[in-house]
Amino acid sequence: MRALLVLAACALAASLGSASLAAGDTTADAARLKGRLEPDAAAHVLAIVDEARSAGLPTAPLVARALEGASQQARSAVIVAEVRALAASLGGARDALGTGSRETELVAGASAIQAGVPVDSLARLRASRPGESLTISLVVLCDLVARGVPQGTATGAILSAVRAGGTDRDLLRMREHVHAQIQHGQAPAGAAQKGLRELLERRPGAREQAGGSARRTP
């Protein structure tokens, strides 16, 4: 009985502690946003942040996005719209990648969604590498798109590489090769395809494993 009481007290203390931490985060977020945004914009962003928190989504990226906009002197309406879009993308990423996903995966996944990567491609990526982090795969995917590789080609390349057993290190090396090829004047799509070929050639037997997926539209 005494042990049960102690356990209950501990649970209560823990829940109060976490509530207090969350309240502290909320207060700190509010102070930072109010210090950098117009009052209306700060209120809108805080409402989006609260909604995201209630939905169990990470909120730090939302606050950071608003502050990034403030630093770049974006208009309030643009800041609010971008924060709202990011919240939606975080939700989409969680739906696609699973509720147990790491925060870094959700943030990178949201970025990929905002770059036009279809949500079901994220789900396929998860299925290709169950139980392992997808953060670096998604970061490389975003980087390829940012460097001008068409979204479909970039997604196909990453999916093929992951299905072929490519490690994070392989993907990072591929990113560097693609970057180098583009700087040498090669078209981004061609550079990505070449980068994938090189990755597959370095992994004996991987080409068969990847099948023809490099050529398929994700």
Partner: protein, 196 residues
């Protein structure tokens, strides 16, 4: 060929950083940064199209708790610098832009080679994107700018602000896919197989 000299120099930097990184020794990295500050890249002719021929290079150290990305800039960063220099009527920078961030759990050293600039600041989600929060320090009289920041595990976005107005992504790091406010940023992941 000038590019060959430049590549050899960059290879030298790569080896030096690997060596410093493998020890996980902050002092040795500091010493290395100091040495780099006094070391010049091979001079290249002021060729208005020189950035086209610039070799990119980025390296990741194969260290358990650290990774290194080393790059010579071309692409967006160099193009933007070229545009700005053209507006100012300045010469094309004699040395290649170079960005390094060496990741160690907790402390990350960001370094950017940025010739002919007055100030460089590091901005990112870790400092509320505030250009006043993390000014980078010029190493000696050279063109190497560095800043050390404590980063929590996770994915962080960041950029460099040059001369108070010119936002540039890290030439050696992965880019964010989106540029929500018109300027693209770079990404660093801390705590997942080291940092990159």
């Amino acid at each position: 060929m000038r590019d060959r000299d430049e590549n050899e120099w960059l290879e030298h930097l790569r080896a030096e950083y690997r060596s410093a990184g493998s020890g996980r020794d902050a002092t040795s990295r500091e010493r290395l940064l100091e040495r780099l500050a006094h070391e010049s890249a091979p001079r290249r002719r002021a060729n208005p199209f020189g950035w086209l021929a610039r070799q990119p290079l980025s390296v990741q150290g194969a260290v358990a708790c650290a990774a290194l990305v080393l790059a010579a800039a071309g692409g967006i960063g160099a193009l933007r610098r070229l545009d700005r220099d053209a507006m100012r009527g300045a010469r094309v920078p004699a040395a290649p832009a170079l960005a390094v961030h060496a990741g160690f759990p907790g402390t990350i050293t960001f370094a950017l080679r940025a010739p002919q600039v007055t100030t460089v600041a590091l901005v990112g989600d870790f400092n509320s994107w505030d250009p006043r929060a993390t000014p980078m320090r010029r190493q000696g009289q050279g063109d190497l700018w560095t800043a050390q920041v404590e980063l929590s595990d996770g994915l962080h976005s960041y950029a460099y602000v040059i001369d108070g107005a010119d936002w540039q992504p890290d030439p050696g790091a992965p880019l964010t896919a989106e540029a929500p406010f018109g300027r693209r940023s770079s990404i660093i992941v801390v705590g997942e197989q080291g940092s990159f």
